[in-house]
């Protein structure tokens, strides 16, 4: 599986993602700087976590208007798989690739801890290696992870099965509506999530729960 990782000024989880993807896919991802006009021909494009542009204006707002994101939108519309984690999720909503918005955490504090996620839809290319309703561990680290969507958008994503991951067992760290932790677009090829599966992929991390997401994508490729 060929992969690419977009790097913005202020990205900081890109290196974790390079490591995770190289370990799991056996191939080093291609790094793509945000000023480039086009993405390479790959099976999966990752928008990594961090603080692109220092979270100026709104988290992900400036990055979503950068040159490379124009091509990301074209590639996503053409069916290429896209995964946005944390700041990547914020960028994908700001770019209009995913519905809703990520607002300041309800508790107003930056949260950096482990939560439990429930895979509520395991019939997707991002989640096929999970058992439906499987609860798994995953780290979070964000200040603006409070997912919100207007009532009609929310109803649509729930009805279409676009909610893939929810915070489980009372671990919602940020006030996200309906405990939403990760959603796809309607076509199912773009996933955005606040938690960091790339940080729980080998024993050195204290667990390997996050591998299942990447292995799902490998199965689909």
């Amino acid at each position: 599986m060929k992969t690419a990782i977009i790097v913005f000024p202020g990205s900081n989880r890109d290196r974790d993602m390079f490591h995770a993807l190289e370990l799991i896919t056996g191939t080093r991802p291609q790094g793509v700087w945000h000023t480039e006009a086009s993405l390479p021909d790959v099976d999966l494009v990752i928008v990594p976590g961090g603080f692109s542009y220092g979270d100026y204006l709104r988290s992900g707002a400036i990055a979503a208007r950068s040159p490379i994101v124009k091509d990301l939108i074209r590639k996503a519309d053409a069916g290429v798989n896209v995964l946005g984690v944390c700041n990547g999720f914020q960028i994908l909503t700001e770019a209009g690739l995913l519905p809703g918005a990520l607002m300041r955490n309800a508790g107003l504090k930056f949260v950096c801890k482990e939560v439990k996620l429930q895979t509520v839809n395991s019939a997707t290319r991002f989640s096929s290696r999970f058992v439906k309703d499987q609860v798994w561990r995953c780290p979070v680290a964000h200040h603006d992870g409070n997912y919100f969507a207007q009532a009609d958008d929310l109803k649509a994503i729930e009805d279409n099965g676009q909610v893939i991951f929810r915070y489980a067992e009372g671990t919602n760290p940020n006030g996200s509506i309906n405990d939403i932790a990760g959603i796809t677009n309607k076509a199912g090829n773009v996933l955005g999530m606040m938690p960091h599966p790339e940080n729980l992929i080998e024993d050195l991390n204290g667990g390997t729960d996050g591998r299942l997401l990447f292995e799902s994508l490998l199965n689909a490729a």
Binding site: L57, M103, G107, L108, F148, Q150
Partner: protein, 79 residues
């Protein structure tokens, strides 16, 4: 020509920062507060000379960048 853009959260969108400010004002003894909502102000200096054209252009800026219309409304003042 100058433009001021005021961006506010839409009704029904939870504003935890506004709530925290509301609580802090209450703590300072201001007890007549019904609600506080936080927003943003942008002051732009424009080279345009036509007011209607300037307003239309600033509206585009709001739609494309200054506001996230999923959660925010914007208002434009031109002077």
């Amino acid at each position: 020509m100058k433009a001021r853009v005021i961006v506010t959260l839409k009704n029904g969108v939870l504003d935890p920062q506004g709530k925290a400010i509301e609580g802090a004002l209450g703590g300072l003894g201001f007890d007549g507060i019904g609600a506080v909502r936080q927003g943003k102000v942008f002051d732009l200096v424009l080279s345009a000379t036509d007011k209607a054209a300037a307003e239309a252009e600033v509206a585009q800026m709001c739609e494309k960048l200054l506001a996230n219309t999923v959660i925010e409304n914007y208002a434009i003042e031109i002077e």
